[in-house]
Every structure is written in structure tokens, then in C-alpha cells.
């Protein structure tokens, strides 16, 4: 799949933002006044920047309001609604906390659940696609949730919790690749896709076009598969293993937390790029790829 920068920025940043919201809703860390303002500001900045980025790849932005209408069938629609609800509810939590020092425990907890639901709906946009067997597996939502929870805990300054979550993320990433590879291989062949397998070995002789086109650019994107192995190790080390080791093995401090966050961010972006770039769409079979 074509790794559009807007979608990578969107899923990474908004995931982090909603992850931070999750912890803030639970009162972790228990802050009020200016400190609370700073934390909520970061959460809003990340989630809003992410959501804004997601609109950049739309071909026809003027109809965007309709995107909230099809929640009965569409995960993308559900995601939009969940995100807006979460952002709205947290305004009701943040304002009293910052200015009145109120605890807002119940609405905070509801907000936390909503934040997780938002991340889950994002993950389901990809997980639901049977056409991309690598994504269509139970670990895809787990990955998105662990990214959000781990990254969020890191931003919230909860070093030990973040350490364990990032360790879990490392394992989940590794497992998802193993399952994904098997699923991607089971896609079949050009013979299966064309229904011509009974005639013998099938190969593409001529594609339907001599020039590039949308389907090929978007869904038969293969650059990521070339360096997939190396990028997986880089992702595993930067997004999961290294920050987890730093957080769990050193005493908590601003410097170590900052280092872990920087590593995790780079790793998360690399991993998300790879998530798209190495994913195989079944339509590639018609193109012999």
C-alpha cells in the first residue's frame, strides 16, 4: 500500500494524543492548574494535528461533514464520531481541572474509555479490510492500542507503566509480523485471482495500461517490501525494546524519559511507514505482483 505521509502522521500523532488522554482521564498523573493545562495542551495538540493531517489526503474536502453520517456500517465514520466525542468530553474534564482544581473522576474515566474506543476504531479501518490479509488479523487493533497506551504513558511521565507496555508492544509487533507473513503468503497466485489456474501456470502478459494509474500507485506499492526485514528490526528496537529497557532499567528522570520518548517516536513513525509500505493488497495478483 502507498504510505501516504498524511496517514502516517495522522495515525501516529492522534494515537499518541488519545493515549495521553486515556491516562489523563484516569488522573495519571494527578495534576491541576498550569501543569494540567500543559498536559491537556499536548494531548489536544497531538490528536488535533493528527486528525487535521488525515484530511490532507482527501480528494474532495468540502464534503467532509458527511463523513460522520455512516456510523452504522463504516469504521471510518465511527472513528470520526468517537474522536469528536472524546475531544469534546475532555474539554469538560480539562476546564474544571485546570481552573477549579476539581477531580472530575467519573467524566474523566468515561473520557478514558472513549479515547481507547477512538484508537480502536482507527485500527478497525485497517483491520476490517479482507483485501489486505496482513492487516486483517486480530493483532492489528492490539498494536494500535499498545502504541497509544505505551506512548501515552510515556508522555504522561509514567516511566514504569510505559516500560512494561512498550515491552508488550515489542512482543506484539514481532508476533504480528509472523502472522502477517503467513497471511500475506496465503493470498494465492495470479492463477487463483483470475480463475484460470486450471489452465496451467498463469502469468501476466500485458497489463491494462502502459502508464501509471491510481490502482497501481496506491495498491501495488512495493518499495517497502525490499527493506522490510531491516526496517522491522529498526522498529522493534526503537519503538519497543530500547525505550522499554531504558524505562525499566534506569531510575526515572527527565533525561531518560525524553530519550525513551525520542526513540519511541522515531520507531513508531518508521513502523507505521512500514505498516503501509509492506502491506500486500490482493489486487496485486492481477498485476502479477
Amino acid at each position: 500500500m502507498h504510505p501516504a505521509p498524511s496517514v502516517i502522521i495522522f495515525t501516529t500523532l492522534s494515537g499518541l494524543g488519545f493515549g495521553l488522554f486515556f491516562w489523563l482521564g484516569l488522573g495519571v498523573p494527578d495534576v491541576s492548574g498550569r501543569t494540567a493545562f500543559a498536559f491537556f495542551f499536548i494531548a489536544y495538540a497531538l490528536s488535533c494535528a493528527g486528525l487535521l493531517a488525515s484530511t490532507f489526503h482527501l480528494g474532495n474536502k468540502k464534503n467532509a461533514i458527511y463523513a460522520l453520517s455512516q456510523w452504522r456500517t463504516s469504521w471510518l465514520s465511527r472513528e470520526g464520531i468517537a474522536a469528536i466525542l472524546t475531544l469534546f468530553l475532555f474539554a469538560l474534564v480539562a476546564v474544571p481541572r485546570i481552573f477549579l482544581g476539581a477531580e472530575m473522576a467519573v467524566s474523566g474515566a468515561i473520557g478514558s474509555v472513549l479515547a481507547l474506543i477512538t484508537v480502536f476504531t482507527t485500527s478497525m479501518i485497517y483491520t476490517q479490510l479482507k483485501t489486505i490479509p496482513r492487516w486483517n488479523q486480530p493483532l492489528t487493533p492490539v498494536l494500535f492500542l499498545l502504541h497509544a497506551l505505551g506512548g501515552g504513558a510515556l508522555l504522561a511521565g509514567e516511566a514504569k507503566i510505559a516500560g512494561w507496555l512498550l515491552l508488550a508492544l515489542t512482543l506484539a509487533l514481532f508476533a504480528a509480523w509472523q502472522i502477517g507473513d503467513k497471511r500475506a503468503q496465503a493470498r494465492g497466485t495470479t492463477g487463483d485471482a483470475t480463475g484460470l489456474a486450471h489452465l496451467g501456470k498463469v502469468r501476466m502478459l500485458e497489463s491494462g495500461h502502459t502508464a501509471r494509474n491510481y490502482v497501481v500507485d496506491e495498491m501495488v506499492y512495493r518499495v517497502g517490501r525490499k527493506h522490510a526485514e531491516k526496517l522491522r528490526w529498526i522498529t522493534l528496537a526503537l519503538a519497543g525494546a530500547l525505550p522499554a529497557a531504558i524505562l525499566l532499567l534506569t531510575s526515572p528522570g527527565h533525561m531518560t524519559a525524553f530519550l525513551a520518548l525520542a526513540l519511541h517516536l522515531v520507531g513508531a513513525v518508521v513502523g507505521r511507514w512500514l505498516f503501509f509500505a509492506e502491506a500486500e493488497h490482493v489486487v496485486g495478483l492481477y498485476h502479477g505482483k
Binding site: M1, H57, L58, G59, N60, K61, N63, A64, Y66, A67, L68, S69, Q70, R72, T73, S74, W75, L76, S77, G80, I125, Q128, L129, K130, T131, I132, T190, G191, D192, A193, T194, G195, L196, H198, L199, G200, K201, V202, R203, M204, L205, E206, S207, G208, H209, A211, R212, N213, Y214, V215, E218, M219, H281, V282, V283, Y286
Partner: protein, 243 residues
């Protein structure tokens, strides 16, 4: 709503004969022509006369080669367009309700006044049947020439999709695949018409007819009759050698 209709009154669709198709791309051109001048945003071309031309098409013809062990290879031309699936995944993923399947005839269409051009429907389609028009920013797909098939202003013989009307080989057939007594349904039954990627559960309405089995030669190939020339030819052969 992008919920799929529980049942459609008709299942209008195409039956494409892979035995007859000669791969001339006539259907591609007719489709592009009709759908650029009629329903919805035109199918744009980008940089058409430049170094990097591209463009939107609703139908493309691919050619495949199939070869069984020890047999001659065979070429199969496969026109590919929207299959108007009964269980169309492109419809249910749409966040805006732009993508829909008509309950009266089963045609899958895009309401261009609602489409945001997010591309998720194209991702959900296993067949590569949807293309985002780069000029309009709107998702384009086969309409089954909905503006021809019911068009009272056209002579009756023209009230079929442009690709069917133009096919010089008669490889494309249009009709109601929900009616078991229709010509297209009988054709599918007689020729063993099949679905593309049935395991994905999309239940395509369009069917493909497989290439008919090729006959094979049951006599041995001709033997070489004159390895060593004799008589006059033998003399000529020797004489020429000596020259």
C-alpha cells in the same frame, strides 16, 4: 445509508466471455468515451501528451498467459471492471454514504456530491475496480452505463452499456443475473461461468465464462521426408557443394 440492501429486485450485470475476447480494448475506449461525456465528473487524463501520461479508466483489459506442463501456452484476455457485488465491501466502508448499491437493480454507484475522495472504498475492493480521479478528487467506477440502459432517448439497441454495445467480438453480455431464465443466466449455466476471488465473500454479480478447452493434436507431427537428397536434387546438392 451505506448499508447494503437485503435483496435487490434485479441483479443487472455483465457476463464476459474469456473464450471470445480478442483483447482489442474497444470496450475500454467506448467506456472512457461515454463516461467522460455523460454521468458525473469526466474521466480525466493527466499529462496526456507529456512524458508521464496517466488517466482514469473504469474498465481495463489485462492479458494473461496460461501454460500447463508440456502443453502449448494460451493467451487469455481479461477485461476488468466493477463486478457490482451483492456483498460489496466498497459500499459498507464508505464514511459519507456516497457509495451505495441500488435496491432496484443492484448497480453500485458513487454519489459524487457526497464523496470526499478518501479512497477507502478502493482499498476495500479486491478487484481494483475503483479509481480516484486525480482532477476531480472523486472516486470513479463503472456505472453499468446507468444513463444508457434506461435512456428513452436512445434507440432500443443502444440501451446497453457502452462496452457491450461496442464489443466487436460479442464477448460481452448484459442482463439480469438475478433471473434464472434470462439469456445471461442461461449462458452462465451452460458455459460454467465463474466468480472472481469467491473466497473473499463479495458475491460478484458479473460473471466470467472460462476459455473453452483447446483441442489437442492426436497425430504425430510430420516427419522430415528428405534428409538426404537423392536423384537430381542429390546431384544439385553435390554440384553446389563443389562450387
Amino acid at each position: 445509508m451505506t448499508a447494503l440492501p437485503e435483496k435487490t429486485e434485479k441483479k443487472l450485470g455483465l457476463v464476459i466471455d474469456l473464450d471470445t475476447c480478442v483483447g482489442c480494448h474497444g470496450c475500454v475506449t467506448a467506456c472512457k468515451g461515454w463516461n467522460t461525456q455523460n454521468y458525473g465528473a469526466p474521466l480525466s487524463d493527466t499529462d496526456p501528451y507529456g512524458a508521464d501520461p496517466g488517466g482514469t479508466f473504469l474498465n481495463r483489459v489485462f492479458s494473461y498467459e496460461a501454460q500447463a506442463e508440456g502443453k502449448a501456452a494460451q493467451t487469455v484476455h481479461m477485461p476488468r471492471s466493477c463486478l457490482h457485488c451483492d456483498d460489496a465491501p466498497c459500499v459498507t466502508v464508505c464514511p459519507t454514504g456516497a457509495s451505495y448499491k441500488r435496491s432496484e437493480d443492484g448497480i453500485v454507484l458513487v454519489n459524487e456530491d457526497r464523496c470526499i475522495g478518501c479512497g477507502l472504498c478502493a482499498w476495500a475492493c479486491p478487484y481494483g475496480a475503483r479509481e480516484l480521479d486525480r482532477e476531480a478528487g472523486i472516486m470513479k467506477k463503472c456505472t453499468l452505463c446507468v444513463d444508457r440502459i434506461y435512456n428513452q432517448n436512445l434507440p432500443e439497441e443502444d440501451r446497453v452499456p457502452a462496452c457491450v454495445r461496442t464489443c466487436p467480438a460479442g464477448a460481452r453480455h448484459f442482463g439480469d443475473l438475478g433471473d434464472p431464465d434470462s439469456d445471461v443466466s442461461k449462458l452462465v449455466a451452460n458455459r460454467g461461468g465463474f466468480d472472481l476471488m469467491p473466497d473473499l465473500g463479495t458475491k460478484p454479480v458479473n460473471k466470467y465464462l472460462p476459455p473453452r478447452p483447446k483441442d489437442t493434436l492426436d497425430t504425430a507431427p510430420l516427419e522430415v521426408v528428405a534428409d538426404e537428397p537423392k536423384g537430381f536434387l542429390g546431384w544439385l546438392d553435390k554440384a553446389l557443394e563443389k562450387l
